[in-house]
């Protein structure tokens, strides 16, 4: 995850090469519906096969690599459906896979480590998990439908405009909360919680938390740097045409 020599991804590179360089791109490919094996297909080819604007893929992929990419043609409302698809799949990945997986590891660790303070950790994480789930649910049920509604009106501007219910600021506050508690747990595990025969599970857990943090970080950058500006643009376009 902390590879510093990640490459700058362009559309003529082979998908397999960019995955060898940064295997976390597997998540990205999967969320866009591209599955391995990818044979020796280029990024461009795979994007065409999946009805995906290569510039959108490149923007996301370079974000995964910690590189800022400016699309040759700016992203537009035509990219909205794929952005929402990515975000939805990423949510599912959190709630169905990553968080339950981390929770299991915490339970296993608490079984081995019988220090009484360790017993507080599963509860801490479960509360945190519920908060995250609630936030993701809010995005699934309120934010995404709103964005899709805007999109529909943008391409077919006959229906009436829905009221504004979306606030970028509220969004960002939610996110920093999610990152804070994750970071708290990392601190507790790395610096404070007393040790008892838990070396392997603790290490696994810490690494999973770092991976999750990295993924959440990319996720919120996609929302804040890519989705929100497009949403504002669609809103102002619609207001103009009213």
């Amino acid at each position: 995850m902390f590879q510093t020599n990640n490459i700058y991804i362009t559309s003529d590179l082979k998908m397999s090469d960019i995955i060898f360089n940064n295997p976390y791109l597997l998540h990205l490919a999967e969320h866009f519906g591209m599955n391995v094996p990818v044979k020796d297909k280029s990024v461009k080819k795979l994007c065409e096969e999946n009805d995906l604007n290569p510039e959108l893929f490149l923007t996301f992929a370079n974000l995964y690599n910690g590189v800022k990419y400016t699309p040759k043609d700016p992203l537009t409302h035509h990219d909205i459906l794929n952005i929402i698809k990515y975000l939805k799949n990423n949510h599912k990945f959190y709630t169905d896979e990553i968080y339950p997986n981390i929770l299991r590891t915490i339970h296993q660790m608490a079984e081995i480590n019988d220090h009484k303070e360790m017993a507080l950790v599963p509860r801490f994480f479960l509360d945190y998990f519920n908060e995250v789930a609630e936030h993701l649910e809010y995005e699934n049920k309120v934010v995404h439908p709103y964005v899709l509604e805007l999109y529909e009106q943008r391409i077919n501007p006959t229906s009436t405009r829905k009221p504004q219910i979306y606030s970028a600021k509220e969004y960002q506050e939610h996110h920093s909360d999610i990152e804070d508690k994750l970071n708290d747990l990392k601190n507790l595990l790395i610096k404070y919680l007393p040790y008892k025969d838990d070396q392997i599970l603790r290490r696994k857990l810490i690494l999973k938390l770092f991976d999750l943090e990295n993924d959440l970080n990319i996720h919120s950058q996609i929302e804040e740097l890519i989705l929100i500006p497009l949403v504002s643009e669609m809103e102002s376009q619609l207001n103009k045409s009213k």
């Binding site: 910690g66 800022k68 017993a119 801490f124 508690k181 601190n187 404070y192």
Partner: protein, 196 residues
């Protein structure tokens, strides 16, 4: 750890400045950026506390520099001065390092800027909680709100908040539930006394 990005093309200057920083008691990590063009990329990757930059890079395009500063509002900028610049151009920086200065002065200037960043930063460099912070933490862990803690300790809510900020800076833990576990680990409160 203080993260610094240094924009300077002369290796004599970069090596020299890094040497001075490494010998000081400041714990610094310096990223060298040989040209201004790569800076945006570097700043995008990680949070930095200081940007030390050769003014000639920015005086040709002060507007861009201002945009950069507004995008990274916690980033303090320091000009690295080794030739004459019109003083009115140097106001763009938060601080200056002049190469004729002694290492002590350079370090103390950086420290001064660090103190500006947060009034209690010096204090936060040590991890041990003060007695008052410990009092606040104990009450926090038993489930009291800021106002209740303030009343119990006869201090203002504002002071409680400032103590909490320091506690979080020292421990790395921000949430009340996380701090509660910390308090139990440190045996400041017993596990039975924490409220549900």
């Amino acid at each position: 750890m203080i993260n610094i990005v240094l924009v300077e093309s002369s290796s004599i200057l970069t090596e020299g400045l890094i040497g001075i920083l490494n010998k000081s008691e400041l714990k610094c990590q310096v990223t060298i950026c040989p040209s201004f063009d790569d800076l945006e990329q570097i700043l995008f990757r990680k949070k930095y506390d200081f940007l030390i930059v050769n003014p000639s890079f920015i005086l040709s395009n002060p507007k861009y520099f201002k945009t950069l500063k507004s995008q990274h509002n916690n980033l303090k900028t320091i000009g690295l001065i080794y030739s004459w610049y019109d003083p009115k151009n140097l106001y763009l920086f938060d601080g200056l390092i002049t190469i004729s200065e002694t290492p002590d002065i350079i370090i103390s200037n950086i420290k001064k800027l660090l103190e500006d960043t947060s009034e209690n930063d010096q204090n936060a460099l040590q991890e041990v909680l003060s007695n008052r912070e410990t009092d606040v933490l104990k009450l926090l862990a038993t489930g009291l709100a800021n106002k209740e803690i303030a009343d119990k300790l006869n201090i203002s809510t504002h002071t409680v908040i400032s103590h909490r900020k320091n506690i979080s800076q020292k421990t790395g833990i921000k949430s009340v539930s996380g701090l509660t576990i910390y308090a139990v680990v440190q045996k400041l409160v017993s596990i039975d006394s924490i409220s549900d």
